[in-house]
């Protein structure tokens, strides 16, 4: 078989697989809430045409979408996929799952002032951390892995970013959206401060796109060699990332694009540390993560990176 044919077979396979998983996901949702009314069967990965930055993105529908519609995925992924490994589409965020490490590779979110605004109809206390049954049991993380591990079930796509509907919020509590995070001093504090900062950007920018994920960074040991070392927790050996990143692009009313990029260590960070300390050049995150963020944007088109003019 020629390599070209192998390539096209692979691409077809990936799309079909995505469609299968989303199909089962939609099926499950249908059984759960009984609302069989008008949920269309949709492919998990939109065809590439629909996510091109050049294509027309329909304006936000008045009614909130509860399924992962191509138009919503197209909006979220407007500036490109960082990678295509095990992509899962939820109603308001997109995730790529790292089956070896049992945590995400990345999650992508699109925030507006409306989607992060306080909404009495959405109550985070009603959400439960639950296993993601669309993930094969071999690679699924469970609550038992995290209990008494010393780590929080740390959201990659934050619950507070998805307030248009209870279901949007519920879906951020899938354990496939979690990575082990240090609790006090990180997840519940410094990392939360960064999440809050991203939400605040919607006050000044009409659209905020953010990619979040784990890093496993090397360090030099006494023998002068460099190693990557990280803990794994529970019976499912869930990886404890050494760092986490957020790469953010904010779109102002005049369509100028501003990028910010942060890497924070997964450890206790003093509350008096300003988050600007953790700003790093976006390329360095890309090199470490093995991913390209917002690759539909030429970096020279950006108005600023980390607050600095280009």
């Amino acid at each position: 078989m020629s390599s070209q044919r192998v390539g096209s077979v692979l691409a077809l396979g990936a799309t079909a697989l995505g469609a299968f998983y989303l199909g089962t996901h939609v099926e499950r949702e249908r059984r759960n809430d009984g609302s069989t009314s008008s949920l269309p069967r949709l492919p998990g990965l939109p065809t590439f045409g629909t996510v091109s930055a050049a294509s027309l993105i329909p304006a936000q529908e008045a009614n909130v979408s509860l399924a992962a519609t191509p138009s919503r995925i197209g909006q979220i992924m407007k500036f490109g996929f960082p990678g295509l490994d095990h992509v899962r589409s939820h109603s308001d965020y997109v995730l790529s799952y790292d089956r070896r490490n049992r945590v995400p590779h990345w999650v992508f979110e699109h925030l507006t002032a409306e989607s992060v605004a306080k909404n009495d109809a959405v109550d985070r206390a009603k959400c439960d951390f639950k296993q993601d049954e669309s993930i094969h049991p071999f690679f699924r993380s469970q609550n038992t892995d995290y209990r008494r591990s010393g780590y929080d079930r740390g959201h990659m796509a934050a619950a507070g970013n998805h307030r248009l509907h209870q279901k949007h919020c519920d879906e951020t509590f899938y354990l496939s959206n979690m990575a082990p995070q240090v609790g006090q001093g990180f997840n519940r504090d410094a990392w939360n401060t960064l999440e809050t900062h991203v939400r605040k950007l919607t006050k000044n920018y009409s659209n905020v796109y953010v990619c979040t994920g784990p890093l496993y960074l090397p360090h030099k040991e006494d023998d002068g060699k460099t190693y990557v070392k990280y803990e794994v927790i529970g019976a499912n050996t869930v990886a404890v990332p050494t760092h986490f990143y957020k790469v953010i692009v904010s779109e102002s009313a005049d369509h100028k694009l501003h990028m910010e990029s942060y890497v924070m260590p997964n450890q206790v960070i003093s509350n008096d540390t300003p988050i600007s300390v953790f700003q790093v050049p976006p390329e360095s995150v890309e090199r470490s993560a093995g991913l390209l963020f917002f690759d539909q944007i030429n970096r020279k088109q950006l108005a600023t990176i980390n607050g600095k003019k280009i």
């Binding site: 609550n143 008494r148 079930r153 507070g160 997840n187 519940r188 504090d189 939360n192 509350n271």
Partner: protein, 358 residues
């Protein structure tokens, strides 16, 4: 789908097939903490894959049972003995730890009622020494990953009977710090200098540099050229990189020839030539040995021709400075013939054996 379902059903069975009767969530007054822990271990903290709804229901029933027992131990008729209070304290601590992970909301609602009853019954020691000191009020971001610093801390819960929350002071300090940090953030546009290329990196990138070695310190100069223009950390296009390697290699060959054949070489110059030749051969084995393997034959012939027999025996043969082969370069493997005949001049033999079996 059906396979997955079958697996789930199987693990349901495993989770509940325990010694204790399935629907019994009784916690006795004798050793309540032990009964409680056993329920958690067998019905909740199960390593097999169990439907989350089942686990949740199992925890809720265990929790309800724990709440009943704690209430009984504290407010039951007649026996508010010290040992009952201790049992209640232990169970409350243990249950709260699990509630923080599995389901804080019912705990947070119930603990308010418990506090009110404690205050009403004037169990002030229990209030101060247990609920307050051990911070057994509502779960919050201090102890549960279901909360974060945006949530309101349960200060009010502890503000009774002349008490304040043990963490009130640290929250105040924190508020001040956050205020400062957000102000810093406002006026923060620290310019970071973009990575500008050093002069050497720029030369490495363009391939425009001069490669000249002198007879005085040829090895050091060769190493310096390699370090500055070849072993860079920046990414250089392959063709430029190769040209740079060739340029430094040519300079090495040139100076070795001069050291040996400009008149009769001193033993010092022979040593210098051998040192550099050894280093250059090592690099050639990595970057591509073709030029070396061709040139080294000419060098040998000239060495023999000029009757530098000492250099031939002590350096070229002994230090194995003939063509690169599978002994020193990953360009070759065991199927390639070894350059045995290169060394068979002036009565010498290769310093290694033929390794091929046939």
């Amino acid at each position: 789908m059906s396979k997955r379902k079958a697996e789930d059903e199987q693990s349901d069975k495993m989770a509940t097939a325990e010694k204790v009767p399935q629907n019994d969530y009784t916690i006795g007054l004798e050793d309540p903490i032990k009964d409680y822990q056993k329920l958690i271990e067998t019905r909740v903290q199960v390593d097999e894959i169990v439907d989350d709804d089942v686990t949740k229901e199992n925890f809720n029933r265990t929790a309800a049972s724990a709440r009943d027992v704690i209430w009984q131990l504290l407010f039951g008729e007649g026996n508010t003995s010290q040992s009952n209070i201790e049992k209640a304290t232990q169970l409350l601590e243990e249950y709260r730890g699990d509630a923080c992970f599995y389901s804080p909301t019912p705990y947070n609602e119930w603990i308010v009622k418990l506090r009110d009853e404690v205050l009403k019954k004037e169990l002030l020691d229990f209030w101060r020494e247990v609920l307050l000191k051990k911070q057994l009020g509502p779960c919050w971001s201090r102890d549960s990953d279901l909360y974060d610093s945006d949530d309101t801390p349960p200060l009010e819960f502890y503000a009774h009977a002349g008490c304040t929350a043990p963490f009130a002071a640290s929250l105040k300090v924190r508020a001040v710090l956050e205020d400062q940090a957000s102000q810093d953030q406002e006026g923060n546009a620290v310019p970071t200098t973009p990575g500008e290329l050093s002069a050497d990196d720029a030369a490495a990138l363009s391939g425009e540099f001069e490669a000249l070695l002198t007879k005085e310190r040829p090895l050091e100069e060769y190493r310096s050229l390699m370090k500055r223009f070849v072993l860079t950390k920046i990414i250089v296009p392959d063709n430029i990189h190769q040209a740079s390697v060739k340029k430094v290699a040519a300079a090495a060959r040139d100076i070795i020839w001069k050291l040996l054949f400009d008149g009769t070489p001193s033993s010092e110059n022979q040593d210098k030539a051998a040192e550099l030749l050894q280093e250059y051969k090592g690099d050639a084995g990595f970057y591509g040995p073709a030029d070396y393997n061709e040139w080294i034959v000419k060098l040998r012939d000239e060495v023999i021709n000029k009757e530098l027999i000492n250099f031939w025996r002590e350096k070229m043969v002994k230090l194995e400075l003939g063509p690169c082969c599978s002994r020193d370069s990953d360009y070759f493997d065991y199927e390639d013939p070894l350059p045995l005949d290169f060394y068979e001049k002036a009565g010498c033999k290769a310093p290694f054996e033929d390794s091929t079996d046939d």
